[in-house]
């Protein structure tokens, strides 16, 4: 069962491409100081050096190395996106599990809350949160997590609800099993695959949100990030296009890779649901 999963998963060329890019980004993020020893905020050359002209990706208006920015930015962006996603999955997962398992009034209340957070314009709310909490890495994480948990809650709820009405859960109830055992040992392991898929796709959304926030100047200060680089390069679009184009391509490729891997995961975990 597990071996066929790996064959389906890693045998998919799209997944392979995605995994390779993600591995590169991950290596960059982990080994940033080794690969790009230049401080991304330090003036290390003349301003507006074109790419391949002494600097791999050129320099920006203050003479900062774009390559250094990219590598160190990978660190910030990935870290924030992953932590925010984990927080959203934990919170949304718990809410959805309680809602789906107990049903009735608890479900009604929690689902109203979820609907509410899905209705409000989430990005504007995230902006507000960061602005009110004053921009910092923590407030960005909080803001992204706050706006991304509802879909997780919905998916987990739906999954738990359908599992709960399955006969093997009913059988566990009639044997006198405790709720906590049923929820954590019988239901959640069976609900894990949609959670993993949605969670992995959520990392991509979180990266997009983080970039948009830091593009608007609401990112974590003193941390180089891809969105910030685009925001800073924006005014020089006419003369130094690479300041915008290069970090944008980095975001695009990373988000694309996560989506490809996430979908591959979905196909491998639910082989019957694969769209032709």
């Amino acid at each position: 069962m597990t071996s066929s999963f790996w064959i389906r998963f890693a045998g998919n060329p799209r997944v392979l491409v995605g995994l390779i890019w993600l591995a590169l980004v991950l290596i960059g993020a982990v080994a940033a100081p080794l690969i790009a020893p230049l401080d991304p905020f330090a003036m290390t050359g003349k301003p507006f050096v074109r790419p391949l002209d002494g600097f791999l990706f050129g320099t920006d208006s203050l003479g900062r190395s774009v390559w250094s920015g990219l590598v160190h930015g990978a660190r910030t962006t990935l870290l924030i996106a992953v932590i925010a996603t984990l927080a959203a999955v934990a919170f949304g997962g718990l809410l959805g599990a309680l809602s789906g398992f107990y049903g009735g009034r608890i479900d009604n209340l929690l689902m109203r809350l979820t609907e509410f957070f899905q209705t409000i314009p989430s990005f504007i709310f995230a902006i507000l949160l960061v602005a009110v909490l004053s921009p910092s890495a923590t407030s960005v994480v909080v803001a992204i997590a706050t706006v991304s948990w509802p879909p997780i809650a919905r998916i987990v709820r739906a999954e738990v609800m359908s599992l709960r009405s399955r006969e093997f859960i009913q059988a566990a109830i009639t044997l006198g099993e405790r709720d906590s055992v049923i929820l954590f040992r019988q239901i959640l392991p069976n609900a894990l695959s949609p959670l993993i898929v949605t969670g992995s796709l959520l990392v991509a959304t979180a990266i997009l949100t983080e970039s948009a926030l830091s593009f608007l100047g609401l990112g974590a200060p003193n941390y180089m990030s891809w969105g910030f680089m685009i925001g800073a390069g924006r005014s020089f679009l006419r003369d130094a296009w690479w300041l915008v184009a290069i970090p944008g391509i980095a975001i695009l490729l990373t988000v694309l890779s996560i989506n490809l891997v996430g979908e591959g995961l979905n196909d491998a975990l639910n082989p019957r649901l694969r769209t032709p």
């Binding site: 109203r112 609907e115 509410f116 899905q118 209705t119 409000i120 314009p121 989430s122 990005f123 504007i124 709310f125 995230a126 902006i127 507000l128 949160l129 602005a131 009110v132 909490l133 004053s134 991509a204 997009l208 970039s211 948009a212 593009f215 608007l216 100047g217 609401l218 969105g227 685009i230 925001g231 924006r234 679009l237 006419r238 296009w241 915008v244 184009a245 944008g248 975001i251 695009l252 490729l253 988000v255 694309l256 989506n259 490809l260 769209t275 032709p276």
Partner: protein, 330 residues
Amino acid sequence: MQGIRLIRFIMIRLVQAVPVVLGVVVLNFLLLQLAPGDAATVLAGEAGGAPAEYVEQLRARFGLDKPVVVQLGLYLKNILLLDLGFSFRNNAPVLGLILDRLWPTLLLMGATFVVSVGGGVVLGVIAALGVRTWRDHLISIAAVIAYATPLFWIGLMLILVFSIRLDWFPTSGMENVVAFHEGWARVPDIAHHLVLPTITLSLFYLALYTRLMRATVLEQRGAEYATTARAKGLTERAITLRHVLRNALLPVITMAGVQVGALLGGSVVVETVFAWPGLGQLAYQSLFARDFNLLLGIFFLSACLVVIVNIIVDVIYVLLDPRIQVGGKA
């Protein structure tokens, strides 16, 4: 008969929207409490040059010396009377400022809605009908890439290519202010300005709806009722157009409703990139003027906007799906 039921349905939806609107007000209040400094200074726009007596006046009006519950009550009352306060930065009432910026945003959203839903449906159907042909592959690959592209970046790239290099479209704004167009002459000018922002904002949603439409058309074509239609002697074309399309539209419409809030969020970024004089740009400006009160007002009204658009989407859904019993809970 149908009309009366529909009005009843809309009334019920409006009543159901009340808790959402109240919730947004409470959320705003909580955010005010979270902000550094006391609410009066925040409301006055922090160091925004508001006279000291005005700040005092605000303190009294919002009962800042009273318990939090009373404060919440006063805040609720003010907002529900549509008194959103005064922006000293802009030297104008918040409500007026927002309403001035509403229609450019509505224009952008409307255009995006038409392009993304319309285009998504058409492309999704084309891809599904030619499943595993070059058309399908082309559309699917383009959708996967568009789905991963940051909005602000694609906007900047479009400006770089189509405005700076090719000079086909203006780089920013909604109108050519020095041309002083009036009346109908404004229409082509605004439309010209609208092209790039609409494409930018649409691209992600276009990809989303295309993928969804493709998947649902494929799923519905395999449904048992499609086999029945096939067994009746209908052509594949008739099966798709008459039976599959309408069934496949329903999830897309649901998704379009869910995405309204995200669309408004996206317009903040797009309006900032293109200097489009809408709510999003106002939000960006108030963010940097630290005019929280204006920002809260924008959040409140945009949430109301989402609620209204959601009701419109629900009505469209009900008109398409006879299974929904109008008058009850959907």
